[in-house]
Symmetry: C2
Subunit: 294 residues, 2 copies
């Protein structure tokens, strides 16, 4: 069995694994994202103790440079995360391990993982959206991840915000009340003065949260016409959110798009990731498999 | 020279042409969109008088059914346009003319035309947005038009609407103040009680219009990461709009996406269609060429 390495390099923690698919992960470790040198060093030390890998895939927090022909390919670029601006991740790992390296965003990796082994098998146009400490997403269009100019930054779209209903100004340092500024975990906590997971299921916080997320999903539906929508991340662990969201998306679309997936089967259209919290890590392994084949 | 037929079947008028590219249009006609039977009859009469075509491409107003294996392929479906709900256009033309027919939205055809001969040559991920009587757009992702569930409906995304600044409630019969409801030609006319083209270039209408359109472009940039943006339609004939829009997009992004196309070269990133008002008609011919090859 050929083995591949995968790194889900998030802003909070890194997950490193060796394997070839969901049922064949032979080694795995995770550690907090500290300073770059230490974090990269821990990842390298892990892979050096493992059986040989044919290639490495990295799904990174961003923004990142994913263009192969760019001098800063493999870099984390303009992240607000202290110490991580313009840090080479892909190149460092490639030189140190001597194997081909694929480098993409963590959320693009998760989308790829879900397509290979999860909730988006056989689909060519869909997206994975994660709602947690931040909001981000990976988009597959016509069978490949979208990388036109850069990569998707789904958390930073603008949505209607009625300040009479919700005076919270938004938490995004760049845009204030963009989607992430209104609906990510820190916005929930700051608006209601308690952590999201401590709010009861019938708290009005969840109706408002579903409203903001549904506005974003409507925009994504109008723009991408996706075959399915996969929603992950810590905030989506609240089981009451899926039905609220499904109803609110239908209410906002108001029958404009007459397709059965939206009208009659929305509970199989808006779904959680089939790989649970392993979409990103397994997607990184899928990235490695792609670069090994190319 | 192999000749192809193209129909840009808009909600206001149909343009029919025979040719093989921008410099080889050998015949062309246009007529108003009246009732289906009459309109389809005029198109058929035109093509029957022309030299033989190898295939026909149709870029239609929508929503339409573009899925080949669907029983209603080639239909205009839930359009609010009187008389045109659930009308077979593609199948009727295919049976009457006996040639392969490609059927897509008018705006997808325009995007394809711009890729083949216009402002998006060599690009694989971009979109064409038209702002006129309605707002619609065609999206190319990884080299092909997006057709995941249906097709893009860019005019119906939701954007922030500050009713203290702009109390106009929006004109969309489905969504009120969606993008089209706030920023298409009829909204301009209704909000300012005069037709858009009669408003002077320094009228505050244009700053507000640029703001709404820029919010939509920011969402499209965050979701698609397009390599270029092509903006057409009657409203974009106002020359003051392009610079207003370019500045407003930069202001709204606020430096978050550190790419030269957005920071330093936005005047070559947000551009008008290179084919002028022929993008849709020529794109229909490009659709015909694709179906003839397949």
């Amino acid at each position: 069995m050929t083995l591949y390495g995968g790194i889900e390099s998030g802003g909070t923690k890194w997950v490193c694994a060796v394997g070839s698919g969901p049922d064949d992960v032979v080694a795995r470790t995770s550690f907090p994202t500290t300073q770059p040198e230490e974090t990269l060093g821990r990842a390298l030390a892990f892979f050096r103790q493992q059986p040989e890998i044919a290639a490495l895939g990295i799904g990174s927090f961003g923004p990142v440079d994913v263009h192969r022909d760019s001098p800063t390919w493999g870099f984390v670029t303009t992240t607000p995360k202290p110490g991580w601006t313009n840090i080479d991740v892909g190149g460092v790992m490639q030189r140190a391990l001597g194997v081909p390296v694929a480098f993409d965003t963590d959320v693009n990796a998760a989308a790829l993982g879900e397509q290979r082994w999860g909730a988006a098998q056989q689909l060519d146009t869909f997206f994975y959206l994660t709602i947690g400490t931040g909001i981000g997403g990976g988009v597959m269009g016509n069978g490949r991840l979208l990388h036109g100019l850069l990569h998707s930054e789904l958390g930073h779209m603008r949505i209607p915000h009625d300040r009479a209903v919700d005076p919270y100004p938004g938490a995004c340092p760049y845009h204030g009340d963009c989607l992430e500024g209104l609906a990510a975990g820190p916005a929930l906590e700051s608006r209601w003065a308690q952590r999201g997971e401590t709010l009861p299921p019938d708290h009005p916080a969840w109706t408002l949260e579903a409203h903001y997320l549904a506005l974003a999903l409507v925009n994504l539906i109008c723009i991408l016409s996706p075959q399915r929508i996969i929603l992950g991340g810590g905030v989506m662990q609240q089981p009451q959110l899926f039905p609220l969201l499904q109803r609110e998306v239908q209410a906002l679309l108001n029958g404009y798009l007459q397709v059965p997936a939206l009208l009659d089967a929305i509970e199989t259209y808006l779904v959680p990731p089939a790989l649970g919290d392993r979409s990103g890590m397994l997607g990184a392994i899928a990235l490695a498999q792609e670069v090994a084949r190319s």
